[in-house]
């Protein structure tokens, strides 16, 4: 048993790194042999140099910092709001079934609607600035988090509620001692999705119309056909997203240990 756990711990990262190595090798193969034009796919070396330049230049770091702050701002703005709204939704579903079902229906419709079509309206309202991105970016994740939080509250079964009531637990203590720990793994999972969706939202907003941020730089480079810089920007954003995702996934697994049945 110990052996197989150790093996899986060893093999999972090895496999992941192997996939990365294979992708880079194929990339190098296609570009070095001229199978793919450099106008479409730059050489690995050129991309690496461009990435190094972005990560060391003042302009590159400034724009990365702006995108990072926008992601952070959107995250801080949306997460507590989503948790509170998700909790209220679950309460509504339990107390007023029909009203809860109606709100769920509205949420499903909202999740299914492409939010990007509202970007022009948002620009008309707030203009082209940080707020346009900070407001737009969390919309997608916010809806997903509301649904995930509401689902998380169902992790606490009625019998556990009865037990807590029987041992004299008050409402606040119940929320803090029971609801929150029960929901935590689902919340972290939702947070992970939320961060990814926020990064996507910020990138989309920056690529669409913006005056700063890494997405703005990528868009500018693409208009002058600076392919190595475009790819370097993409690689940097993808790497940061993958690292954040991996860290949150690790946290999620750690918090979910008790969910795995013996």
């Amino acid at each position: 048993m110990r052996r197989s756990v150790t093996s899986s711990r060893f093999y999972a990262p090895t496999l992941q790194w192997s996939v990365v190595a294979v992708v880079i090798a194929l990339w190098a193969l296609f570009t070095e042999t001229g199978v793919v034009s450099e106008n479409v796919l730059p050489k690995v070396g050129d991309t690496a140099v461009a990435a190094g330049r972005i990560l060391t230049s003042q302009d590159g770091l400034h724009n990365l910092g702006i995108s990072g702050l926008e992601v952070l701002g959107a995250f801080i703005l949306s997460t507590p709001l989503a948790i509170v709204l998700g909790y209220l939704l679950s309460e509504l579903e339990q107390r007023r079934r029909r009203a809860g079902a109606f709100v769920q229906m509205l949420l499903s419709a909202a999740i299914g609607t492409p939010k990007f079509v509202f970007m022009p309206i948002l620009i008309v309202i707030v203009g082209v600035n940080y707020w346009q991105k900070i407001i737009y970016a969390p919309i997608e994740g916010l809806l997903v988090m509301i649904v995930a939080t509401a689902a998380g509250t169902y992790a606490v079964e009625g019998r556990v509620k009865a037990m807590c009531k029987a041992v004299g637990m008050g409402r606040f203590r119940f929320l803090w001692r029971v609801y929150f720990p029960a929901m935590l793994p689902l919340l972290v999972e939702a947070l992970r999705l939320n961060v990814i969706l926020i990064i996507s939202g910020v990138m989309l907003a920056e690529l669409y119309i913006s005056s700063a941020g890494i997405g703005f730089l990528i868009h500018n480079w693409s208009t002058v056909n600076d392919v190595p810089n475009v790819f370097a920007g993409i690689v940097i954003v993808a790497t940061i997203t993958i690292i954040i995702n991996a860290l949150l996934h690790r946290l999620e697994k750690r918090l979910s240990k008790w969910r795995i049945d013996a």
């Binding site: 079964e157 009625g158 019998r159 556990v160 009865a162 037990m163 009531k165 029987a166 041992v167 004299g168 637990m169 203590r173 029971v178 720990p181 029960a182 240990k257 008790w258 969910r259 795995i260 049945d261 013996a262």
Partner: protein, 317 residues
Amino acid sequence: MNSERSGQAAVGPARVAQGAQVSASATGPASDGSATTLGAQAPSNRKGEIELRDVSVWYRKSATSEMVHAVSDVNIRIQPGRFVSLVGPSGCGKTSLMMVLAGLVPLTSGSATIGGEPVTGPRPRSTGIVFQDPSLLPWRTALDNVALPLEVAKVNKKERTERARQVLDLVGLSRNWQSYPNELSGGMRQRVALARGLVTNPDVLLMDEPFAALDEQSRDEMGAELLRVWERLNTTVVFITHSLSEAIFLSDEVIALTGSAPGRAGDHIEIPFSRPRDLSLMARPDFAEIRGRLYAALRPAAQVPGGGAGADGARPS
């Protein structure tokens, strides 16, 4: 406690009192009109005394909002320190009565008292509860689960840890106090739930089919284990079960609930076997005889149209 129980427990025929009025009080009248002395050497205080008088419970089903008449005009009196089982078909209101005693479901009419005080809400310090499902918090260790009622009661950490470990030791889990629920077997989880119910040293322990989810062998073993624990405590136990054998083996008295939505208190049967008891008791002819009587007492309920599965097993939420 043991001498008290063995003193009242000469082996003999079960005494069956007919009628809806059920009394197990020390000097309360049986419905046959004779003054009875059940568990005559009861503790002088009334701490663990339970009395339900003319209790009726209606509740609204959460799924359909339909009103259900769970129990009607139930009168039960249980003296302190007794082990009393409630048996009856599904939907006869056993769980509703337990929820009333736990203060989790309000009475529609009548009165419920524990230790002479009306039950108006949960009484965590004096009433322990063990549900059919262990209802453990999976992110807490066995020790932390057991200590939960003490934590809620704001007992300091050192004391609650000490008391929780003592109770875990009592239920035979001294080695598993650091285990999480997913690392424990079904029987062990139920022991943790039992320990949680006992950690406040309650006057009354309410148990709602606590071993129903276990296989037969584990169930018998848990029953014997429960008796071993109970015989060391001065706790009144109200035990709900579908198993007549389990009820007879464990109890001083078995109360049959009949009917279905609403259920009513029917016969009560005094169990005459001495304590301590062991599982071989179940093979004795007099055990079978009592089982037969109990079965007969419940049979009319099974013949009620829709009885047994009545009220589709709905329970107050």
